[in-house]
């Protein structure tokens, strides 16, 4: 530290170094140990409140078919007959399958785009950014009808394939933006150092870059999954005779959502919770 010639070195204990004052640290601890977690918990409660309503109304003992805001009493009837509507079963299956596949394909496509936009300079960068912006800005009804027109012109059979192709198309820009946010301004010296030490750029990518951007990829995947699972307008146009859950549900709102929809929603939600629990437990096991 000091350049002046010092007397024989004295061992300076670590906690004598300048650090933040104690009261400040206590305040920070309060913030991070108490305020923020409570806030996050409250936020999650807010996010989940309509879901809780949905779960509740899955037990609604309504006289008849159509659901209304009134709660009549508890019944397990709907749970007993949850798989009784083959059309609804098929719609749910389709939705989940489409969302998984679309997200799985859109994620690498979007990741590579985000990487390129966030880290590299190249001619046409503005155009690609423009393209991504457009992908997020376009109103669904017009994109849906234009896609339909395109498929009809090339005489593509409307169904699962066209739905998938369309979903990947609108998922990709969202993934790209999320990955780009992760990657923008990222210090390339780490990668350069890796390239000095490792043999190929590919290995450098796998060992250094990929772990660094992994949260971005994961988030992109989840976002794409949710987008696809939830999509109604575009799917409605290009689905031909295939039904997905949003299409099924949207039609049912005209007459009041049948409690069966709530049951499925609850099952989906509970399945998701279960998955989250599993992943949390598996994280715990890691050292």
């Amino acid at each position: 530290m000091s350049t002046v010639v010092t007397p024989p070195p004295v061992h300076v204990p670590l906690d004598a170094r300048p650090t933040e004052p104690a009261p400040l640290r206590a305040k920070r601890k309060r913030l991070s140990r108490f305020v923020l977690p409570v806030y996050t918990a409250l936020l999650m409660v807010y996010l989940v409140s309509p879901i809780l309503m949905m779960i509740l109304y899955g037990f609604n003992d309504i006289p008849g078919e159509r659901q209304t805001p009134r709660f009549w009493g508890f019944t397990l009837d709907w749970y007993r007959s949850v798989f009784s509507d083959p059309a609804l079963n098929e719609a749910v299956r389709n939705s989940i399958m489409i969302a998984l596949v679309a997200a799985a394909i859109a994620t690498p496509l979007g990741t590579t785009l985000g990487l390129a936009l966030g880290r590299y300079g190249f001619r046409g960068k503005a155009a690609v950014s423009f393209l991504i912006f457009m992908g997020i800005a376009i109103p669904e009804i017009v994109l849906g009808s234009s896609l339909l027109s395109m498929y009809v012109q090339v005489q593509a059979p409307l169904g699962l394939l066209t739905i998938l192709l369309s979903h990947i198309a609108f998922d990709t820009p969202f993934v790209a933006v999320v990955v780009r946010a992760r990657v923008q301004g990222m210090d390339r010296s780490l990668e350069d150092a890796a390239q000095d030490l490792f043999a190929t750029p590919l290995v450098a990518f796998r060992r250094v870059t990929l772990p660094l951007i992994l949260p971005g990829i994961m988030s992109g995947f989840m976002l794409a999954f949710v987008l696809s699972l939830d999509d109604f307008v575009i799917t409605n146009f290009v689905s031909g005779q295939v039904r997905t859950l949003p299409i099924w549900v949207y039609g049912a709102t005209k007459v009041g959502l049948p409690p069966l929809v709530n049951v499925f929603g609850t099952l989906l939600f509970v399945a998701g919770l279960f998955l989250a629990l599993l992943s949390a437990l598996s994280q715990r096991k890691q050292a």
Binding site: I62, P63, G64, E65, R66, T68, P69, R70, W72, S81, F83, S84, D85, P86, A87, S145, S146, L148, S149, M150, V152, Q153, Q155, L158, N236, F237, G240, Q241, R243, I247, W248, Y250, G251, A252, T253, K254, V255, G256
Partner: protein, 430 residues
Amino acid sequence: MSAPKKEPDLRRMQEILRRRLTRRGFIRGAGVGVAGISLGSVLAACGGQTTPGGGGAVEPTDVFGGPPEGQVEWANWPVYIDKAKDPQTGERYSPSLRAFEDQTGTTVNYAEIIQENASFFGKIQPQLAAGQETGWDIIVMTNGWEFQALVVNDWVYPLDTTKRPNFDANANDWAKSPPFDEGAKHSMTYQSGITGIGVNRDLVTAEIATLDDLADPDKLPPNSVGMLKADMADFVMINLGIDPETSGPQEWQEAADWLQMQRDSGVVRQYYEQNYADDMTAGNLAATMAWSGDVFYYAEWGGYPNLEFVFPEGGAYMWADCFMIPAGAAHPVSAMSLMDYYYDPVPATMVQEWVFYMSPVEGTRDLILQHAADAEEAGDKGYANKLTETANNEYLFPTEELLARTSFGRQLKTDEEKAEWDAIFLPISE
């Protein structure tokens, strides 16, 4: 609305000529379509593949001449058919449909895939315009501009009027030749209903019986009235004493003025596409334009006795959801027999007891009363009572007098009319 130009006429001439040139490519030529690239359409029209089944100038006997195909793809609205639970598989199915399948050995793929006329139309229109089949044999469309567009562009097959014995025997008078489809040449009514006023007696005690009551801030709390966008123009005209079917822009303006007055009075909560039922049952609406079947269902079977259906003094709007066979359908003959099957009173009653709308079939009332009697005998008094109520509901089985006070509204048959109509009425709900 652009001023009339010379150009459109030339274009229309070209369209017509192109139509006549190639019978095969008829559909493709007739509707270049939303995004039909002209060159592509011309190429297709000139030498492309055969349109499955053809359309337009096609004669019904060409389409319906063959033997039954043994399969039908039926697209319908949700909650629009009878449902029951199979005791063995636990699956929900339609008893009337299953009876048809057993009787004729036909497989029916029933899909509740229509949520709105407009979005379903938007979905099948590009295919029809390009001359492709939609995959559906039967679709159910409400009378309106989508219906007219399908007919005018020959995107639905003309029906073979010699192949519907049940229809000829049992159809109500008005169903035999409704104003929106003379001679029922392109459609057969499946269910029909009345748009009147749904009143929540918990929220309003004053009498709501006339049109002006719906705009009366003394009778109704502010922001408590619902209006149905698609029906309200005709509804208002009828109640103003105008006959919608012969009305012109002057009369439309009268109705629009009333609607604007209503909006200015502050009683309107929302202009609905069709999702008014949520607000009605939640108690957010004191009075709303409503469909008879909905109000009746909630009041009688849904546990909302506070809801009441009012037939306005000036008259009510009537609508019909109709079977149609899209051009290019692969199984028209079986489709036709399925459509005619629902004109037999037995299946028609099965449906009506679930759906609670007006049936175009004579004789359902007697059957419902009979079912009521059977239920009473079997000791199920509650069910019997409900059935009797259903049979005595004057909106499900309207008298001639009541029917005379309803109208199917203005049928918009040209783009100019539609554009003027939209220009007058749309700004009110925006």
